[in-house]
Symmetry: C2
Subunit: 389 residues, 2 copies
């Protein structure tokens, strides 16, 4: 196990009708003028927006709005939000929605007190030193942004999808009401599930030795997803299954299951090019990429993949041929993703073979290599896209 | 899953030599005048105290000391600490040691700003509304107090061992260096392990349905302990095993594995009478009591005990006779505790049958019942003590 720091100061308020405490919580955490950041009209149509406004007003908190955040959120809304906050003296960001609204709110929160272009944090030119407080009311279990300090934004100019992170961006509170996820279409629910499982796997495949506690915690989240997601596919109103998935999604990405070990975020990176290119759901792209990435890197540590196969996927260990077990685990993962309605190939996603060179180029590592488990160069990235055809 | 709030704002700094950052961290969290709370001379002899003082001095932080905290810590040191803090204007509590030092520091932290007797929080007469910040440098993996808001103190007058809790008592930071636990005698290491496993089991045995995510997380911690503790028994210097146990001990008790479900703390309560009576190690008392409690309540939910037997203890499910599987799990737990050198009976602990009526009386439920999994009356408590003979 490596040395680490872990700091997750978010207050999670979980359960039925928890959004009614929003105004009270904003006040508790010192907000007086809030910018509500949200996506399309679904939070309005569902009545959530009205409930939140009522709750804020009852607590004597003022608010403005910034709607229209799209999936794979863009920088234009961040700039708009930063201007708005400065003009109106906003001191608190409140995201209603999923990862897109939350990640935009985080970008605004970091950008407001920063003297230059907020994109500096995403291009690696600057480190976040200060940020307004961010809070969330979550409506989809997926990105884990409600408990993490991470944010991913796409720059319109050049179609660059990049991440930034800081403990300063961890939400001060997050409201998680599983009821709010019940109206999600099956496809989006499945995409969220793929994202959650990817967040665990990208921590699970590590070169760090002696990480039993985090291995077991990772496996706990994956076993939960395997058990609960099919229930929701069968019955979207299954509150209990939604609740288990929603909390699993937070645990998967606040890094409590990933401390003290190296990670490998190449699957996320390779996928980001897909969703930047086709504007597909991030989870759908991950369902295509992750099994291909796994098959490509599997020989680097067959026993780790065999461990996942046995402990997570319930495979029987083939002691004479561990590689067979390892591969069987990957196959079961792919079958699982397919069984919940996700694409597992370029064809099913609507991606095109001829775009691969462009995506490899946009991945942007030039002649270098990247990856904490297996360092990959541009030829490897190319090969993984082709494995996913 | 039940509705819940979860708030664990402690900054954990984990790994080799992490204690050298202590002064810097105190300053980061606003401490200017610290009271160092510790137990016997081991933190002095090991050189830890000197390192901490050096680190505080380098950060320009002033400090006083309160040593002599004993296992099953007493109220007298709390009163002494409160007086000292008020007299010297202490604004920050720093515990060096294990649960006893930390729980005493927490009691002092709550007592200083309180206008009346701090024992009010432990007798249930008052709720903690304010507390000085507390931080810890942990030297034994056991109590989990480094990540929890809980504290247990024994009142000398009447030998009452009682707990109190508040999110306000969660440490602002905790330094966890597994190296500091390497010199612990085997018996104390084993007692700590029993305490950690008990913290999980008291959350695991629940009447709340549909708690897959926390079930799996609980099992993850238990599986880790079963894998790692025997390594340390064989080789006390096994840093990696110590590290896994140390982090498991935090995870076991900051309630991340216990949210959204009812708990049952009767084993802890029944044990508290043992350690109050004989001043035995809390973990040793738990090793005696927990298997007895499990055997006594097992029939209340045979399938839950069978689940633990299969998932945690690796038993094969007897589908024709689940009770046999459930019992086999309890037997394996008892054998495990014995194999790491712990007492599993009154005789081995040095407890006496004739003291049972006194302990039942001191347990203090009169004609009432208590327990979140199975409500137990005084006759049940009596029977559990006798099962443990």
């Amino acid at each position: 196990m490596n040395n680490f720091s872990f700091y997750s100061p978010t207050k999670f308020v979980f359960g039925t009708d928890s959004e009614s405490r929003c105004g009270y919580l904003v006040k508790e955490f010192g907000g007086t003028k809030v910018l509500i950041v949200y996506g399309g009209g679904s939070v309005v149509r569902s009545g959530l927006m009205d409930k939140i406004k009522l709750s804020l007003a009852a607590a004597g908190v003022h608010f403005s709005e910034l709607g229209g955040i799209v999936p794979n959120p863009k920088d234009d809304k961040v700039y708009e939000g930063i201007d708005l906050c400065r003009k109106e003296g906003v001191d608190f960001l409140l995201a209603l929605g999923g990862g897109s609204a939350i990640d935009t709110a985080k970008a605004i929160a970091a950008g407001v007190p920063y003297g230059s272009d907020f994109w500096d944090f995403y291009s690696g030119k600057a480190i976040i030193q200060k940020a307004l407080p961010v809070a969330t009311v979550l409506t989809i279990a997926a990105a884990g942004s409600e408990g993490s300090g991470d944010t991913v934004i796409t720059r319109t100019d050049g179609n660059l999808k990049r991440g930034a992170g800081s403990d300063l961006l961890r939400p001060v509170f997050s409201i998680l009401n599983p009821q709010l996820t019940a109206t999600l279409p099956a496809y989006q629910t499945a995409c969220g599930a793929a994202d959650i499982m990817a967040h665990v796997f990208e921590r699970y495949f590590t070169n760090t030795k002696d990480v039993e506690i985090t291995d077991r915690l990772c496996e706990a989240v994956l076993l939960t997803m395997i058990n609960e997601v099919p229930k929701v596919m069968k019955n979207p109103d299954d509150y209990q299954a939604r609740a288990n998935i929603m909390w699993a999604g937070m645990v998967a990405h606040n890094n409590s299951v990933g401390v003290g070990r190296s990670h490998d975020w190449n699957s996320h990176g390779i996928e980001h090019e897909l969703s930047a290119m086709y504007d597909c759901a991030h989870g759908a792209g991950l369902a295509v990429i992750m099994p291909a990435w796994m098959a490509y890197v599997m020989k680097h540590d067959v026993m780790r993949f065999a461990q996942a196969a046995v402990r997570v996927w319930g495979c029987e260990m083939d002691f004479g041929n561990p590689e067979r077990t390892a591969m069987e685990g990957i196959t079961r993962f792919k079958n699982f993703l397919h069984s919940i309605g996700l694409p597992v190939s370029f064809g099913e996603l609507g991606a095109k073979e001829e775009d691969i060179p462009l995506m490899v180029q946009s991945f942007g590592i030039g002649e270098g290599k990247t990856g904490g488990f297996v360092a990959l160069g541009k030829d490897d990235i190319d090969a993984i896209y082709r494995l996913a055809l």
